[in-house]
Subunit: 128 residues, 2 copies
């Protein structure tokens, strides 16, 4: 199985759409360490808004990746954690993150070279 064109895109894309958005992986990473409360996540995930944290958590909960536990007290206390499936997703994501970390330098280099080459071509156009 794997990334052959017609299975890869069709269903796997849905999953990528869920987990590949701006915040999901970050939330999963935080919950991979330990169970956390809403405000705790909001504080520790730099730049996320209440709205997006809620939306992200709801989506992950709906897909069975995180659990939401409400304690009926005042003030409210809600805890989030990874499901077993969520934990396996995190491991799968780790493979990708590892790839990214070990190739980030090569990518930066490729970008720099591409950009300088593009700038060169731009300079040539003015000469002609």
């Amino acid at each position: 199985m794997g990334l052959h064109p017609h299975s890869a895109s069709c269903r796997a894309r849905e999953i990528l759409d869920r987990v590949g958005d701006k915040w999901s992986l970050m939330v999963i990473a935080m919950l991979g360490e330990r169970t956390r409360r809403f405000t705790e996540l909001k504080r520790d995930i730099d730049g996320i808004s209440q709205r997006m944290l809620t939306v992200t958590l709801r989506g992950l909960e709906r897909d069975g990746i995180v659990t939401r536990t409400v304690y009926p007290v005042m003030p409210p206390r809600v805890e989030y954690s990874l499901t077993p499936m969520g934990a396996t997703l995190m491991e799968a994501a780790n493979t990708f993150v590892a790839w990214a970390e070990s190739h980030i330098d090569a990518i930066d280099a490729a970008r720099a070279e591409y950009d300088s080459r593009a700038a060169e071509l731009e300079a040539l156009k003015k000469t002609s």
Copy 2:
């Protein structure tokens, strides 16, 4: 290494932003099979526009994931293929795709249960 919150998101997110968009993985999958020409990709990737194919290929080329080879003939002939780094990226992506394929049923089930439960709660509100 891996998906711990503060290394994972910061740089790995950039990579995810490149490869997690609507078309990149699909293009990589196609080029993973073999070298292809622009029009060939456009024909085989269902629903992609010229513009997005161009934009996607440029981005992947810039990051050193695909190579672009121009043959100076009329009519023009341009071939795209994966770089060695692109090939390793495809393998890393395969891990994720494999996860998605083996959990898609569980996710569908989780969604169905979540939705029916939500509908139930909705019904209760009308009673009260």
